[in-house]
């Protein structure tokens, strides 16, 4: 089975996100004052082959933990779409 994994990697909530902070100030300077917080992460799409959805889940989790996310500072979530 073929899957598309849509992965979001975000800085952990407890951890400072300097980039998000600067973007928030930038938006406020532009007059977009309604923005109270900004956090910036990465969106990653993977295409993969797996025997089952559970297996695909396992593979993507593994990929996230080992490489895609720095689990010391980042958290990840994903959804799988069967192609």
């Amino acid at each position: 089975m073929k899957f598309l994994a849509e992965i979001n990697v975000m800085p952990q909530k407890e951890i400072l996100d300097p980039q998000g902070k600067a973007v928030k100030i930038g938006l406020q300077n532009l007059g977009i004052n309604q923005v109270s917080d900004a956090r910036i992460g990465k969106h990653i799409q993977l295409q993969l082959e797996a025997g089952s959805e559970a297996e695909a889940n396992q593979i993507v989790t593994d990929a996230c933990k080992k490489l895609l996310a720095n689990i010391i500072m980042e958290e990840f979530e994903f959804k799988l779409i069967q192609l």
């Binding site: 980039q19 600067a22 973007v23 100030i25 930038g26 300077n29 532009l30 910036i40």
Partner: protein
């Protein structure tokens, strides 16, 4: 000539730029990004650094600072404007110069001396330079790979807008002398009206005899000796 050096939060080459201009015997004032007045400066420089930490995209947030409205107006009215390194990135984000500056092809920050050859003598910045000389100037950037679509590159060539190419110490312009993967070794350009300049290398850092290199000073002298 009165120079104004724009200071964004995160600019860090403002002191260097002011210092070198003053060493040339000209007045230079710092223009804080929150102000709108250009204080009657004839020549505006957007210096190097990491405006707003270079977060999101280099130059992206700085481009909307209060002072930028008048900087853009100044340029559109034919006033001289130059961006060095991060300043070049800001001017590109502000669409005052064509193209973009992408991450170096090594994906790393690169700090070293490179050599420059002029692409044209037909600009304020290069008019006094020797067409056959390779000028030694430092670069220090992570996002300096000049890129534009074919049509834009052709236009730059047709209009003689390419100010500098990366070359080796003998003046050869080739892949080996290209530090960051810039298209056609482009290191600096001007706009079609020839009043807005952008370059990645730092001429202000090669402008002191105590540092054993004054090649950059010659570039800056080209501006003031007009």
């Amino acid at each position: 000539m009165k120079f104004g050096v724009v200071v964004f939060p995160g600019s860090n080459c403002d002191d260097d730029t002011v210092g070198v201009i003053e060493s040339l015997g000209h007045q230079a004032v710092k223009l804080w990004h929150k102000q709108t007045s250009l204080e009657n400066c004839d020549f505006i420089i957007v210096p190097g650094g990491f405006s707003y930490g270079d977060y999101l995209r280099s130059g992206a947030i700085a481009r909307f600072s209060p002072i930028m409205e008048n900087v853009i107006k100044h340029a559109n009215e034919g006033g001289y404007l130059m961006g060095i390194c991060n300043g070049f990135q800001v001017l590109v984000e502000a669409h005052l110069l064509p193209g973009v500056l992408l991450r170096n092809n090594s994906q790393k920050f690169i700090s070293k001396n490179i050599y420059l050859k002029t692409g044209t003598q037909n600009s304020l910045l290069t008019q006094a330079l020797d067409a056959n000389k390779a000028y030694k100037v430092p670069i220090a950037h992570a996002e300096g790979r000049y890129f534009a679509d074919e049509k834009t590159i052709q236009t730059l060539k047709d209009n003689d807008q390419i100010l500098f190419y990366y070359c080796d110490e003998n003046g050869n312009i080739n892949e080996n002398s290209n530090p960051n993967g810039s298209l056609e070794n482009i290191a600096g350009i001007c706009n079609a009206q020839r009043n807005v300049f952008g370059m990645m290398p730092h001429p202000e850092r090669a402008a002191d005899i105590a540092l054993n290199n004054v090649d950059g000073l010659e570039i800056l002298k080209s501006i003031v000796n007009c």
